[in-house]
């Protein structure tokens, strides 16, 4: 019983981290007024670039940097479309995700065709003593170095963009009323550009975590909707940092059940387990969170009057 719970927790935390990282980036961007349906594509591209980088250099750290760079590039493309060209954010986000799915599948045929080559990844680092705590120890203190680093990034980001900092206020101002924020001297476009590029960077990193810390390989469309779960986690978390983290954890547990329940011999059709996170996500957006208010200017492009 204890070992089952331990396994479930380990898998849950591992699968929470990619959602958590991407959701926190998306949270900042939505607070600034830009919705990115392309988080999914950015994660997948990050995973692909991470695996390509790691296999070609032999170093997982180089892989992470490649994934980060790829995410930033995609973030810049999305920012160009959403902020500068004022294109429809939902349409371009979904198109960008489709582009990423198709392009990584295409790229995998060309660059990763020789399957069986092992991908250099990160090993789990057990923190002495703490990782021996029963049940929660292995889940919290035996993750990979990349996972610890990413959790650190999330915490720092959440602190830097909280409403107690100037940055946090500028972000919220840009997302609530861009025109007035502009009057008040907030560089609305720059804030939004940075926020969207930040989503790209974080989603790219989330992808590398998935590919290099967990799966240790790249498969076609390996994110399979996790990026959309990150977007839903922001809605379910009512655009607040801590609830978003909780929502990410719920999605992480739901995904973990996919792997732990069959391992325990519980006879549930696999497809039902695949479905679970998305059903939860639907319940979250449809049932639980009705009294939340999105940032007023979400998906509204900003253009200075008379410009």
């Amino acid at each position: 019983m204890t070992s089952m719970l331990t396994d479930l927790l380990v898998a849950s935390v591992s699968l929470t981290i990619p959602v958590l990282v991407a959701a926190n980036g998306e949270l900042v961007s939505e607070r600034a007024g830009v919705l990115n349906m392309s988080v999914e594509g950015m994660m997948l591209t990050g995973a692909f670039a991470g695996v390509v980088g790691a296999t070609s250099t032999g170093s997982p750290v180089a892989g992470v940097l490649c994934g980060l760079a790829a995410g930033i590039v995609l973030g810049a493309v999305q920012a160009l479309l959403s902020v500068t060209l004022r294109a429809n954010q939902i349409v371009t986000g979904i198109a960008l995700t489709t582009l990423a799915i198709a392009a990584t599948t295409f790229g995998a045929r060309l660059l990763l065709a020789d399957r069986g080559v092992s991908v250099p990844g990160f090993d789990r680092l057990a923190v002495p003593v703490l990782s021996d705590i029963p049940v929660v120890g292995p889940a919290l203190f035996a993750q990979t170095g990349l996972a610890y680093a990413l959790v650190g990034v999330v915490v720092v980001l959440a602190l830097l963009t909280s409403r107690r900092t100037g940055w946090g206020l500028a972000i919220d101002a840009a997302g609530e009323d861009a025109t007035k924020a502009d009057w008040a001297g907030v560089p609305v476009r720059r804030v939004r550009w940075l926020a969207v590029v930040g989503v790209g960077a974080l989603s790219g990193l989330a992808g590398t975590q998935l590919a290099l810390s967990e799966v240790h390989t790249f498969t076609d469309n390996m994110t399979a909707g996790i990026g959309y779960l990150a977007v839903v986690a922001v809605i379910a978390g009512r655009w607040k940092a801590v609830p978003v983290m909780v929502a990410s954890l719920v999605f992480g547990v739901a995904q973990a059940l996919q792997f732990t329940l069959p391992a325990l011999g519980v006879d549930v059709p696999f497809a039902l387990l695949v479905m679970l996170p998305y059903v939860l996500a639907l319940l979250a957006v449809g049932g639980l969170v009705t009294h939340s208010r999105p940032p007023s200017a979400l998906t509204v492009p900003f253009v200075r009057a008379g410009a």
Binding site: L85, R86, I235, L282, T299
Partner: protein, 411 residues
Amino acid sequence: MNLRHPLSLGLLAAAAALVVSGLLATLAGSSPTEAAVALWDGMFGSAYAIGSSLNAAAVLLLVATGFIIAFRANLVNVGGEGQICLGAIFAVTVGTRVLPDSTPAFVALPAVLVASVVGGALWASIAAVLRVRRGVSEVITTLLLNFVGLALLLLVVHEEMFLRQPMSSSETLPQSLPLVDGAHLPLLGIPRSPATAAVALALLGAVVAAVVLHRTSTGLRLRSVGLSAPASHRLGARVDRLRLGSLTTAGGFAGLAGGVLVASAPHVLAEGVSSGYGFSGLVAGLLARGSLAAAVLVSAALGLLVSGGINLQLAAGIPASLTQITEALLILFIAGSALWTTTGPRGAGRRSAGWPRRRPEPDRSGPPPGGASEPSPGPATATGSGPDGDPGPAARPADRPRTTHLEETRR
């Protein structure tokens, strides 16, 4: 030629997307001519190629028609993929479990197709109800329902208690039994061509949709809801019911696409039956900018691209995902160039052009006309993509003559 006209921009975008795809094909180690020849052969090379292109185009046209209907009411149906899956599941349930083997075609085929419409419509109605009752963005819900629908498909084809064919050995494929003979879609009868009656069905659907959207009061009401829900509400249109109806109808069309897919050879339900048709249909609907005539042309072009792409993989060894890259690039180029598109007089062109209407920036640069009476936003939508709380159009009817709706609809 006006470069800023939507049509010329669209052609430019298509050219750009094809050039990039051509470069990628070269990257994949094939010479551009080899790739072009393979693509051409896959599209027009034989009666078989043309026929399969037409079949693909028919499926896309059905999804695109549904997309356009929902889009009239300013609802974006991203859920084509899931609706196709549910349509296919319903069709196969009726076609393998309900109907006896000897059912004549004039009963079996309509029964199967109606079941598929019901399946898709039910699936979309989940999103529609959430949109109407709880104000949840239909983009998010239809998107999530895609994943659930795909998983449901996985479930029914893998479990014998649902639709999987009886397992005789461990090599029995995870797919359903074939539909009863009566439920097979007839071929159009063109020699050596696999084109089925789906082509006629899709064209019929598009014509009916065009008539309803352009020539009936329901079409007019849908359009008015799409242009401004608050104003339509004030004028007495039943906004919720129209929205519910249009999104559900969109699901019905996508479901029918699923039914058509399983009623065509090899007449079985298997994983991946929807294989990207949902997204491609959405692309066709978007590119058609609200016009069903344009949807027919765009679907035909994308159908050719899909079938050419398959041959690209078979003959030239270029991954078939290249066609999806082309489609996505096309959408990105067109959406990205929307800023430069000419807007007709009084900006009506952009609105009638059929892009998802962007919520205008609330213009608070001056004091509101009535002093304190700023229009209060309605119930907040989950992502704010909907026009519910949109003070823009409500504040604006003065600069559009009221007849505009009628005139635009007749066009």
